[in-house]
Structure formats: structure tokens, C-alpha cells
Amino acid sequence: MSVVTGVTGEERDDLNRAESTQVRRRSQVLLGSLLSPLKRRIVLTFAVVVVSTAAQVAGPALIALGIDRGVPALIAGDAMPVALTTIAYIVLGIGGALLIGWYTLLQAKISQAVLFDLRRRVFRQTQRLSLEFHESYTSGRIISRQTSDLDSIRELLDSGVSNLVSGVLYMLGTAIALVVIDPMSGAILAGALVPLWFLTRWFQTRSQIRFRRTRVASARVIVKFVETMTGIRAVKAFRTEPANDRVFAKDVEEHRDSNARVIRLFGIYDPGLVLIGNVTVAIVLLVGGYRVVDGGIQIGVLLAALLYSRRFFDPMEEMAMFYNSYQSAAAALEKISGVLEEEPTVPDPAHPVELRAARGALRFDEVTFGYSAGRVILPSFDLDIPAGQVIALVGSTGAGKTTLAKLISRFYDPTIGTVTLDGIDLRSLHPKDLRRAIVMVTQESYLFSGSVAENIALGKPDATREQIVSAARAVGAHEFIELLPNGYDTDVNKRGGRVSAGQRQLISFARAFLADPAVLILDEATASLDIPSERAVQEALQTLLSDRTAIIIAHRLSTVAIADRVLVMEHGRIVEDGTPADLIGGTGRFASLHAAWRDSLV
């Protein structure tokens, strides 16, 4: 496997030739797949461009016709030619105007369809990728893929395919006309293509590297920006504003510099093209001049050849700009296609097994788990959790409790062995059924912007208001929600700024309650609750857990009261396993933990 697969090597701009080709190919494939559903519309757009260009070209000819024929005819008393050309001109004008308007819409539709498709693909991919990916690929980078990278693709799409099409047509037509009129000048023009090719090649290789650098630099700016705004309280409390100013200014300067470099490159490329064009004209003049003196060609032919060779280069600047934005977009596509190429480490099954109504029996079969090859977190173990059992998972921080929970909720897959639900390997279980059957509530309760009700309804999107309220009531969240400015319709602003951590946890609980899963995992889900709330939640759990499997990780051992069975973990191993009463009565780890906890109570 190459080192530039997926997002690896994303920060590098010094890709070697093979890598560069590989990355280019994958972004071209992506571009192709984005454009192919729009094939017919693209062809139509091209056709509209060609016709409207023709209409525009015909204009001056009509004026010439009007003047040359119309004036003498009118003097002779015949108004017909003038009237005809005038009408033709108006018709042409209207036609051209309508076509241009149509073209504008077509172009926008294509461009927006591509952007929409791309946004959706990246979003879906972000959701599809495993937690492992997100733990190393910071959110800021995803955001920069979705914002500034998309901006540069948008620029390409809007920069006028029309310019490209009409430019190519124009150049082609001019070149043919030139060859027909004067093959010799045509040959000179062909000769000019050689330095043109080298110049373009130079621009291409250089700008590729530099555009890559701008993408990396811009992502860095975005990462810093997002992180600072998200953590603004900590920033202020620890007075890191000046330090952040400096780091951000450095990132911005790097971005500016990389941008300036790429712009400067174009600043050489563009006048370079002009220079080649102008030199070509001078050579045509020089060679043609001597040929005129020799009597080889007529002056008229030379004049026409000169004008044609000059015109040949006219659309060059626009096409260069198009090429420039193409390079920029290609660099962005490289990054995006890298993200899209990533394969989730926890993939959806190819042949999902359905499980409509799960009972909730869990089994670990010779499971070993480690994040990377060398570091084993959970050494090989077996565990059988019958349906309906409530398990308290106990142990000091870092003992592997959360990892165990993440294996059950399939945030990770075991390195070796299988985890099964009702006898079905989680890896082959239909994701929908898996998520319906197993729900995990964690200590960090993220709230999405939107109302409290919407946040609770995340557990069951089609829930009625009554169901939402009764879920909130069940976990004791109803009272405080009612006291919010707009009750259930209160907007939980930006990362729940206005709702306290405890309240957020209650909302998460309500969410889980509403989801009504067969297996419920609570990972320190009551840590931020005050004691009365915790008590209410405990009571709710008594009923909630009566007919389902539960794994409860809590440092407050009060949970143990509602557990049927306690598992004590240490260094990734289950060291004790038994009923609460047995373990408390014993002399093991749990007995001492329990004693310590009881001491911590009032």
C-alpha cells in the first residue's frame, strides 16, 4: 500500500512523481464521478455556448453588411436591406441574450449539483468513518475540507466553462483560418506551441506543489480558528489570547505566503503567455515581411495572417485563469478524495444480518483488543452476559472499562475474537438494528444546536411531543426543562452553553430512555449530576432496566445496588466477577473499593 492512500501524507507537498500521479488520478476519478450524472446537461450547456458565441460573432458581420449594402441601397431608394439587417440584428440580439441567460442558469445548476453532491459525500463519509479516524483527524480539518476546499472547487466551476469552450473554439477556428490563408505563418504559430507547452508544463508542476501547500496552510488556519472559538472560555481564563494571536498570525502568514507564491507563479505564467504571443506576431511580421518583398505573398494575406496570429492568443489569458483555478481545485480535490478514500476500520457489513427484536444477550468470545499492533488494551478474555442482566463495571481509571463498552457499542472491533448480540457477530449485524438494540450514554453529553425537544428526539426521530416529555419526566429532566425560557422549544445554544453539565446529562439520559434499546451502556453517565438528580435517575433506571441488558460504568458505587452482577477490571482484565453481595462480603478488590466509597459518603 502506498503512503499517500487516504489522508496519510496529507500534510506533505513534496510528493514524488508516482505519488503525485496516484493522488491526481484519484481526484480525477472523483471529478469524473461527480460530473458523469450531469453528462447530458453539460453537453447541452456546451451547445448553448457554441450557438450563443456564433450569434455574437455574427453581429459585427451584420453591421458591416448593413453599412456596405444598406447605404447604397437606401440612396437608390431601397430600404429593404437596412430593414432586414436591422431586424436580423435585433433577432440575433434577443436570441443571444436569451441563450446567455439560459447558459448562466445551466452553468449554475451544474456547479451547484456538483457542490451539493460533494458536500453530501464528504458528510456521509465523515459519519461512516470510525471513531479511530476522528480521534486523529481533527474536526478542524474536516471543516476545512467542507469549507475552504469546496470554495476552491466552486471557483473552478463558476470560473466559466464557457470561457474554456468558446476559447478553445475560437483558437481552433483562428488556427485553421491562419493555416488556410498562409501555411507558413501557420507553421510559425505551431512553432510557438513548443515554448507554450514548456511554460505550461513548468506552471503545472510548480503550481501543483504550491497549491497543495495552500490547502495545507488553509486547513491549519481553520483548525486553529475553530479550536480557539470552541475553547474560548479556557482561552480567556488562562489569558492565552496573545499567544494565540501569535500562533494564528503565523498560520495566517504561512497561508498568505503560500497563496502569494502561487499567485506570483501565475503572475509569471500569464505575462509569459502574452510574451510568447507577441513574439510570435513579431516573427510572423518579420518572416512575412521578407516574403512580401520577395513577392511570395500579398500584403493583404500578411495583414490577415498577422491579425489571426494575434487573435489566436487573445483568449489565452482567460484559459490560463481557468487552468489556474483548475490547479487550485485539483489540490482541493486531492485532499477531499483522500478523505473519501479512507476505509472505516469498523466497516458496515457487506451482507447484514437483520435482528428485528433483540433480546440483549451479549457474548465476548476470545476477544483481544489493542489500538495498534503493539499496545494490547484488553488481553484475551471470554464474557457471557445473559439477556436482561444488569452489570456494574468497576475499576480504576484506565482499567479498560470504557474500551469494553466501546466494543459492545461497536465503536471499535476486537482485534481478535468476536462480540455477539443474541448470537450474531456485531460485525455482521445490520447497522440499523445494531444501533437500535445497543445505545451508549457517555459522560460528555453533546447537544446539537436546535431545541431541547429536538435533542431528546435524537433518540427516536419520529417521537411525538408526549413521548419526549414522558422520557424527560422519567429521568427527572422535565422540571428544569419547563423552567427554561421556552420550555422544550428552548434553543440550546452553541455546545449547550446555557445548559449546565448536569442538565446536559439529564437530556442525554432522556435521549437514551426514548431510544428504548435492548442493551443500554452507561459510561459515567451520572458523573455531573447532583445527588437528587442522580437519585431520580437511579429510580428511573430501576424501571428502565427491568427488562433489558445494561452495562453501567460508574465510580459512584450506588449503582451497584441495581446491578445483578459486578465485574471488576484491572489492567484490561476482569479480575472479579460475582453478585454484589458476594463481592462485598469477600476480601477482594471490590470489597475494598466499596469500603472506600462508603467512606466517601457523608
Binding site: 437596412v82 492565552t240 500584403i299
Partner: protein, 613 residues
């Protein structure tokens, strides 16, 4: 956040001037050079025609080389002028963009938290990135073309009138509708452009949330749900963009149609005039030649107008944030604490969030509390009673509405923010970590602290686990500390507050995610720090309260009781309700344990606690 007053586009864009000023000489020079390059480009065909007609007409071989050299010279001049123009204009423009971006960032960092509560960061991001790069591009190309084209149109119009007054006037009169079309376009387009940019910001926010909330989405299998919502938003944006396109299509149509009809009329009229003999055929040709040159500048009005309006909207959006006043600033004449003791006092403090409805009482409704130097005060109250809010008031993350908070007798609003926040260090309930090394994260409040202070802080917070990370103290942890557990993050946040060596420590439920044993270790280590440091600790658990010398009970926005844990437990019903696990947990402990401890009565526990304190 729609602007209620809409100044015209020119004055809106004029606000860019202060940022552009340093680059102005180069921009103007660049424009001049650009115009020169344009003129040469226009002249070359004329010169060619002239040369061919004069030099070559008499087949003079000696004249060919100079003629070719002249053309070559002009051509090189044109290319050089373009090179110079680009060099002059483009680099300064990137500086303008960078300057504006830095200014925005600096301003945003200093705006109060209340502002950030209101503004989703996606909206801020879209301003910092997309809007500013649009402004740069406009300054580089749009403005230039606008000036050049306007000049061309004015000069061209004068030429037309001198060539043929009648035709010229007809041409100009018939072009008048362009103004109306342009004005209508400006009205519709500005609104749509604004909407599109706002929706782009919303989309960025949605992306951000979908990544930050990925665990929840995965845990509930709601990725598809989020995708649908996102698609709806993206679809809305697409709709807006297409509306924009149809506005552009509208103006394009007229910008093509009006000149064409004008041409046709002028053609008919011109032919009639020529036939009558009141206009020469040459003048007629010249008239159309000039009018043809004007075609591109006139057509480009549409593109330039939309470009300019996009930029105007971007500028509006930028200044919307830049104009936001910073309400929490350094005082005019700051006082300093020469000998900080750490006496923290709240006097009749009132605070409510700005968007709280009137019918609600103040969230902090007359808090009086005095924390003596070196004293540790626990703050206890129900979830949502305003404990966290009070902690945020001490460092002026929010400013109080009335009353006063004083540090060593000095109103905190009379201290420089920098001084206040170096005296008071906080650990938040959500432990925010930045993507930086462990070392940098812990020493955030005191980057110059030595290794010893760092080790000490890590020891107190029981965060020695960092030594097991791949690169130890130099391991870069994610922005959200993603691969660390909640307890580990909390301990780093605690270490950070301790490492800042403040005179006042404000800890918001700092041990909630720790297991009982670790909590005990942290507490015993923390006691040494707290012995000499004033501390305000939000507590949900009796175990955390144990750290405190006294406890303040927060109820209905007021401190209703202050006292020792044991006193309060004996005398205060609300306190007992909030903090005491006696009723339930004792029972469960008794139920699950069967040994004699369960029989211990309340009094015995209180005694034990007093001994410990």
C-alpha cells in the same frame, strides 16, 4: 443577523480603506500600469496595420526588421507591464487579507463569552475564511476592472458623441434602461447574496457539530438523520445559489439585449443619415468600431456588479462582527494588587443572561459571600442553580449586572483582565484541551513555569498517566483530547489550574469523573495547595465538599447558608436534600453490604467528618 440600516454599496465598501491603505500606493500604481498594458494591447493591431500599409506597401526590405523590432518591443512592453502590475498588486492584496483575518481573530478572542454564546462558530469561520478571500479577490481583480471599465465607458461615450452627436445621444438614451436593470439587480442580488453567505455559515456550523458530536450520532446510529438534516440545509443553499444565478441571468440578458437593440437602431438610423449625406460612411464605421469596443465593458457590468455586491455583503458580514463592542475590557485607570492575599468577596451580586425572559428572576439574585484568604469554600446547589455561572463571574467571563465582586478589596472590574485572570485560575466542568503537547496544555496559564512546577501540578492532579503516553509530556493530544478518557482530561484541566499558581482557584466540579481511589489521592494532594490558596469549589458530592473549610448553599440565586459541612447537615434541610446521600445511599450501602458499618448512625458519621476536617 440582518442589518437594519443598509448604507449604499460604496460606503459599505469604503470601510475596507483603513486595511487597504498601506497597500494603496502600489494598488494605484498597479492600476496605472495595468491601464498602460491595456492600451498597448489595443494599440498593437493598429500599429501592425499601419506598419503593413506604410513599410511593406513599397516593398522596402530594410524597413522590415525595424518594424518587427518595434512590434517585438511593444509586445515585450505589454508582457512586462502585466508582470509589473501583477507583482505590484497581488502581494499587497494578500497582506490586506491577512491583516483583516488577524484583526478578526484578535477581536473575536477578546469579545465576551456572551457573544460566543450567541454566534455559532461556523458563522465566524465563514467570515474569517470565505468572506475575506472574496474581498481579496475583489480588490485584486474586481476593483481594477471596475475602474478600467468605467474609464473606458466614459471615454467611449465621449468619443461616440464627438463622432456623431445624434447617434451618440441616441446610443446613450437607449442605454438608460441599463441603470434601472442594474438598480433592480442590486436590490434583489444583495438580499440573496447575504442569504447565501449566511447559509454557508450555517452549513459550516452543521459540519462542525456533526464532527464534534460524532460519538452521540454514532451511539444512536443517527448519522443518516444528521445527513438528512445537512442535505436539507445544503439543498436550501443550492436553492439560494440558483436564485443568485437567475438574478445574474436576468441582468446578463438585459445587458446583452439593450446594447444589441441600441446597435440595431443606431445601424438603421446611421444608414439613413449616411444615405441623406449628413454622415460620412467613414464616420459611421468609426462610430460602430468605438461602440464595439464598449461592448465588453458594458456586458461586464453584470459580472462586476455581482462580484462587487458579493464583496459588499462579505464586508458587511465582516464588520458586523468587528463592530461588536467589547463590553468586558480593561478599566480606564486600573488598580493593581501589590500584595495579593486572595480575599474574595461577593456583595449583592446580580446576574442574568441577556436573553433570559423578563418573567424570570435573576439567575444570580443578590449573592453575598466572603471567602477569606486561604480559605476553601464549597459551593453547593441543585443542578442548574447557577453555580457554574458564579464561577464564570469571578474571572469576568461574564460581567455582573449589579453589586460587586472584589479581590482583596478591589473591585475586579478595576483590575486589568490580565492581572485578574492571572490571580484567579479555573478548571471547567468540561475540560477543554487544545491540540498541543501535554506540557503546553498544562502550562497554559504559565508557559514559563519550569519542569518542577509541571511535575508538581501533574502529581497533585494524579495525572502521571501522561508519562505512559507515546511521547510522554510531548505527546500532542487532540483538540478535544479525544483519545483521553473523561477522567484523564479532567485531571489535566485540574493540573492546568494548579500549575497557574493563582491566589484564587475556582474549580467547577473538578473531580466528577474520577474514581473513588483516584479522587482520594487527588484530594489529599490538593489539600496542600488549598491550605495556602483561596478556593471556590463547585461540589456535587460529599467527597468533594470534604476539601472545603466551609460550604455555601446556593438556592434561588442566593447564598442561603454558609457554614461547616457538619453544621449545615444538622441545620439546613435544603443542604441535606442536595448533598446528602444518607437517605438513599446509606440504605443501598446497607442493603448491599451486610457488615456492621451500615448500622452507624448519622451522628457518628458527622463526628468522623469533623475529625477529618
Amino acid at each position: 443577523m440582518p442589518a437594519d440600516r443598509r448604507p449604499n454599496t460604496v460606503s459599505a465598501l469604503w470601510r475596507l480603506l483603513p486595511y487597504a491603505r498601506p497597500a494603496l500606493p502600489r494598488l494605484i500604481l498597479g492600476m496605472v500600469v495595468g491601464i498602460a498594458a491595456g492600451l498597448v494591447a489595443l494599440a498593437i493591431p493598429q500599429v501592425l496595420e499601419y506598419l503593413v500599409d506604410t513599410v511593406l506597401a513599397d516593398r522596402n526590405a530594410a524597413g522590415i526588421l525595424p518594424a518587427a523590432l518595434l512590434i517585438l518591443g511593444l509586445g515585450v512592453f505589454e508582457a512586462a507591464a502585466i508582470l509589473v502590475r501583477r507583482t505590484l498588486v497581488l502581494t499587497p492584496n494578500t497582506h490586506i487579507e491577512a491583516r483583516m483575518r488577524n484583526a478578526l481573530f484578535e477581536h473575536l478572542q477578546r469579545l465576551p463569552v456572551a457573544f460566543h454564546d450567541r454566534w455559532p462558530s461556523g458563522q465566524l469561520l465563514s467570515r474569517a475564511i470565505s468572506d475575506l478571500s472574496a474581498i481579496r479577490r475583489w480588490l485584486a481583480f474586481g476593483l481594477m476592472l471596475l475602474v478600467v471599465n468605467t474609464v473606458t465607458i466614459v471615454v467611449g461615450a465621449i468619443l461616440l458623441i464627438t463622432t456623431s452627436p445624434l447617434l451618440g445621444v441616441v446610443y446613450l438614451v437607449m442605454s438608460v434602461p441599463i441603470w434601472f436593470v442594474g438598480a433592480k439587480f442590486e436590490r434583489t442580488y444583495t438580499l440573496v447574496a447575504r442569504r447565501s453567505q449566511d447559509q454557508t455559515g450555517d452549513l459550516a456550523t452543521a459540519v462542525e457539530e456533526s464532527v464534534h458530536g460524532i460519538r452521540v450520532l454514532k451511539a444512536f446510529g443517527r448519522g443518516g438523520h444528521a445527513l438528512k438534516k445537512f442535505e436539507r440545509q445544503a439543498e436550501e443553499l443550492r436553492g439560494t445559489e440558483l436564485e443568485k444565478a437567475s438574478a445574474v441571468a436576468f441582468v446578463w440578458r438585459w445587458l446583452i439585449l439593450i446594447p444589441d437593440v441600441t446597435f440595431a437602431v443606431c445601424l438603421a438610423l446611421g444608414v439613413v443619415l449616411a444615405a441623406q449625406g449628413s454622415l460620412t460612411a467613414g464616420a459611421l464605421v468609426a462610430f460602430f468600431a468605438t461602440a464595439t469596443v464598449l461592448r465588453f465593458p458594458v456586458e461586464s457590468i453584470g459580472f462586476l456588479l455581482s462580484f462587487t455586491l458579493d464583496t459588499r455583503t462579505a464586508t458587511d458580514r465582516y464588520f458586523e462582527v468587528m463592530d461588536e463592542p467589547n463590553t468586558i475590557t480593561d478599566p480606564q485607570s486600573p488598580r493593581t494588587l501589590d500584595q495579593p492575599q486572595g480575599l474574595l468577596e461577593f456583595r449583592d451580586v446580580h446576574f442574568r443572561y441577556p436573553d433570559a425572559p423578563d418573567r424570570f428572576a435573576d439567575l444570580v439574585n443578590g449573592v453575598d459571600l466572603r471567602i477569606e484568604p486561604g480559605e476553601t469554600m464549597a459551593l453547593v446547589g441543585l443542578t442548574g442553580s447557577g453555580k457554574s455561572t458564579i464561577t464564570a463571574l469571578v474571572t469576568r467571563l461574564y460581567d455582573i449586572d449589579s453589586g460587586a465582586i472584589t479581590l482583596d478589596g478591589v473591585d475586579i472590574r478595576d483590575l486589568r483582565l490580565d492581572e485578574l485572570r492571572s490571580r484567579v485560575a479555573m478548571a471547567f466542568e468540561d475540560a477543554t484541551l487544545f491540540s498541543a503537547t501535554v506540557r503546553e496544555n498544562v502550562l497554559l496559564g504559565r508557559p514559563d513555569a519550569g519542569e518542577e512546577a509541571l511535575a508538581e501540578a501533574l502529581r497533585i492532579a494524579q495525572a502521571q498517566f501522561v508519562h505512559d503516553l507515546p511521547d510522554g509530556l510531548d505527546t500532542v493530544i487532540g483538540e478535544e483530547g479525544l483519545s483521553l478518557s473523561g477522567g484523564q482530561r479532567q485531571r489535566l484541566a485540574l493540573a492546568r489550574a494548579v500549575a497557574a499558581r493563582p491566589s484564587v482557584l475556582v474549580l467547577d466540579d473538578p473531580l466528577s469523573a474520577l474514581d473513588v481511589e483516584t479522587e482520594e489521592l487527588v484530594e489529599s494532594a490538593l489539600r496542600h495547595v488549598l491550605a495556602s490558596t483561596t478556593a471556590l469549589i463547585v461540589a456535587h458530592r460529599p467527597s468533594t465538599v470534604m476539601l472545603a473549610d466551609r460550604v455555601a448553599v446556593l438556592e434561588d440565586g442566593r447564598i442561603t447558608a454558609v457554614g461547616r459541612h457538619s453544621e449545615l447537615l444538622a441545620t439546613n434541610d435544603h443542604y441535606r436534600f442536595v448533598i446528602s446521600s444518607l437517605d438513599e445511599e446509606r440504605k443501598t450501602a446497607a442493603a448491599s453490604g451486610s457488615d456492621s458499618d451500615a448500622a452507624a448512625d448519622d451522628a457518628a458519621v458527622i463526628d468522623a467528618e469533623e475529625v477529618r476536617a
